[in-house]
């Protein structure tokens, strides 16, 4: 009977499922408890308010604005990271002198603590003393760019910092995918006279699709959660230009101490994201089959 269980793969997942399930249930349960009360840390008592927090959220323009900025941030950062990561992986997927060194150096941004990289970028972007403006000035492209202090550029600047940090991660996954790719289909295509674009589009890309999907999902989930670099670089400003939902929930929870309301914001975004991603995941895996 044990043999039977061992052979069935579910048995191996069971402990993990159990731990994850219990943890999620506890956190979820407590979150829901907080969501239906009006807990504010500067008040000594709280009371049951039912769905009031949720109806307040639906009328909260600042919350909806932050949700749209979260989408803009996550989608554009992930898209650029996938594109750059793919390009890098393809470009470096050939033998050359110092390949290992280059690949290792590329990973440095990724292993840096996000708070530190945010601080570094904040200094880089400094409009009066930063090196970004200095080098742009040297190139004759103007040295008065207002990277973090203007509504138009602040979001772009934060996305650039995120792309700098996480493109190596995408590169790592895709490079591993390329390394593991069987060479026969490519050789066959070459023998059949396929052009290099045809080989890429009809052979490499389909074979790389699983890696691309993993990279995409991990990056998009992670970028929705992004908090540290925004907190350090702009605190959601200027004029809310970079305030994502996470940042807004932080302000509500840890600046205004509206713990219940912050929980409601996070619960709502969790539901939306979970629904979106499970649908997306199902679609994508169906499409591959």
């Amino acid at each position: 009977m044990i043999r039977q269980l061992v052979n069935r793969s579910q048995a191996w997942i069971l402990p993990t499922m159990l731990v994850l399930g219990v943890m999620s249930a506890i956190v979820m349960g407590y979150s829901i408890y907080m969501a239906v009360r009006d807990i504010n840390l500067i008040k000594s008592a709280s009371s049951f308010v039912g769905a009031d927090n949720f109806s307040a959220l639906f009328q909260d323009a600042r919350a909806w604005g932050s949700l749209s900025r979260t989408v803009v941030f996550s989608v554009s950062a992930t898209a650029v990271e996938l594109l750059f990561g793919l390009g890098l992986a393809l470009y470096l997927n050939r033998p050359f002198f110092g390949r290992k060194l280059v690949r290792t150096l590329l990973l440095i941004p990724m292993i840096m603590t996000p708070v530190v990289s945010g601080l570094i970028w904040r200094v880089f972007y400094d409009p009066n003393n930063g090196i970004v403006n200095y080098y742009l000035g040297q190139l004759g492209l103007g040295d008065k760019h207002n990277w973090l202090g203007s509504t138009d550029l602040a979001m772009v600047s934060v996305i650039i910092a995120d792309v700098w940090q996480w493109t190596p991660f995408v590169f790592l996954i895709l490079a591993a995918g390329l390394d593991a790719m069987p060479s026969e289909p490519l050789e066959a295509a070459e023998v059949d006279g396929a052009s290099s674009f045809q080989r890429f589009y009809h052979v490499v890309l389909p074979l790389l699709a699983p890696s691309l999907m993993i990279a995409f999902l991990l990056r998009i989930i992670d970028s929705v959660k992004t908090f540290d670099i925004i907190y350090v670089m702009t605190r959601g400003g200027p004029s809310l230009a970079t305030e994502t939902t996470n940042m807004y929930a932080y302000i509500q929870g840890f600046n205004n101490f509206n713990i219940s309301y912050a929980t409601v914001i996070n619960l709502t975004i969790t539901v939306i994201i979970t629904f979106l991603f499970t649908t997306l995941y199902a679609r994508l895996s169906k499409a591959r089959r």
Binding site: V27, L41, S44, G149, G237, N256, T270
Partner: protein
């Protein structure tokens, strides 16, 4: 594995990834384990020997000095003290989470008076008057040695809730050399300030910003903008206790803030916090700034600043002869005693020791700061050599400092945040000053009437 289970597993993963909150980093406990009292002292001298207290301190030079001097206290009293030092931005949420769970983990919490109102409102902290009147445990407590304005700021409804550790006010800092070169008088009104900023920017061909101020959304820009709010004759709260930010005075203050910064301020000022603002001025790239008195110490520090000795200090300008309150701030950070503390007397001994003049004077040679709350420490040689250039203007600013400079009510944090967003919107021309303030005022009043 069937499809349902797979979906379930994936959503669980997604949930667990997303729900993970914001971890607090940077909490380094600086507990000083050693220094257990030797048994030689008579037991009668140490009635609290063997007691243990835990103290949450703000990352600040005073806290560093307290940490260094702590073995003296442990030796003297036999009380074991665990210090936790965290950055200011994490301090209040950490304290409140522990207070609200009634864990009694911290006996003493150091924080800004702005948050003290929330602590008192939540019933988390203990009035100190009965401890202070108990002579047997108040040997270190000398009321007369505290800067009187600082000590008064720690009182709510005539009850003393904390002991001041350090404080500051705000003043105008200007470049004496540039003012002389361009023939500018020290600004007395905001019109003078605008004129001076214009002159510098124009005569230096845009090389030097006329003025730099904090623009970063939130407490950063509010802390400086409030000078203009009061100076133009506005106020935070009216007699009915509602916010008064729609007043013509407040609108004028924001219009002025926006105009002076957009016309004569530095590039990128909308994301300037205390640090960026201070650095730009120290590097000589701006002719004036209005900020905390503690900046004087940075201006006069040759390791930090390229304008040592070139800075003049003056009271903040005001526009009206009849302000509703002073236009310079009075910010005080003090130690509060938790209601849940099991060792209130031992905690009181520590609070009085840490804020006593002997320790504050010693802190002058360990890690000096211009905000010391002890009058005796201000007479210390180290204080005078380091901070002499701005000491008198600082003391004048403190004497005129307005305890209501920021709204002193439990909800102040949220009001400050709403207002900070409004200032930022006006600075970036996303909303007119009047509309931005109207929006903030609406949010604030909704909050205040929701009691």
């Amino acid at each position: 594995m069937n499809k349902g289970a797979k979906w379930g597993a994936f959503s669980l993963l997604a949930v667990s990834v997303l729900v993970g909150g914001c971890g607090s980093n940077g909490s380094n406990s600086g507990g000083n384990a050693g220094a257990s009292a030797s048994g030689s002292a008579a037991g009668g001298d140490m009635p609290y020997k063997g007691k243990e207290i835990t103290v949450l301190l703000e990352g600040h030079s005073t806290s560093n000095a307290i940490q260094k001097l702590l073995p003296d206290f442990e030796k003297k009293t036999g009380i074991k003290v665990n210090l936790e030092i965290v950055p200011y931005s994490d301090l209040t949420s950490k304290a409140l989470i522990n207070f609200s769970s009634r864990s009694g983990r911290y006996d003493i919490v150091m924080d800004d008076i702005v948050h003290g109102y929330g602590y008192v409102n939540g019933g988390y902290v203990e009035p100190l008057d009965s401890l202070a009147s108990n002579a047997s445990i108040s040997g270190d407590f000398d009321q007369a040695d505290f800067v009187p304005e600082y000590l008064n700021a720690m009182k709510i409804d005539d009850k003393l809730y904390g002991l001041p550790v350090y404080g500051e006010s705000t003043f105008l800092m200007y470049r004496k050399d540039l003012f002389e070169q361009y023939g500018i008088q020290v600004p007395k009104t905001f019109d003078d300030l605008m004129e001076a900023a214009k002159t510098v920017k124009e005569k230096s061909n845009g090389e030097i910003a006329g003025i730099t101020l904090r623009g970063e959304q939130g407490i950063q820009n509010v802390y400086v903008w409030a000078t203009f709010l009061w100076g133009f004759g506005g106020q935070w709260l009216n007699e009915q206790g509602m916010t008064d930010l729609e007043s013509p005075e407040a609108v004028k203050a924001l219009q002025f803030y926006k105009d002076i910064l957009n016309q004569y301020g530095p590039t990128g000022v909308a994301n300037f916090g205390w640090q960026e603002n201070r650095l730009l001025f120290q590097q000589g790239k701006a002719a004036m700034t209005i900020d905390a008195t503690v900046n004087g110490a940075y201006n006069e520090d040759p390791k930090e600043s390229s304008i040592v000795g070139k800075v003049g200090y003056a009271p903040v300008p005001t526009q009206t002869d009849h302000p509703k309150g002073g236009a310079s701030s009075l910010a005080v950070h003090g130690m509060y005693l938790s209601k849940e503390s099991q060792n209130k007397e031992a905690a009181w001994l520590f609070m009085t020791w840490a804020t006593a003049k002997e320790q504050q004077i010693q802190s002058m040679s360990i890690d000096p700061n211009s905000g010391v709350s002890s009058l005796a420490a201000m007479k210390d040689e180290a204080f005078l050599t380091k901070f002499g250039a701005f000491k008198d203007t600082m003391l004048e600013a403190i004497a005129n400092g307005n305890t209501q400079y920021l709204p002193q009510i439990p909800q102040s944090n949220e009001i400050i945040n709403n207002t900070g967003v409004a200032i930022s919107k006006a600075l970036l021309n996303n909303k007119s000053p009047a509309d931005a303030l109207k929006e903030a005022n609406g949010l604030n009043n909704k909050l205040l009437s929701a009691k």
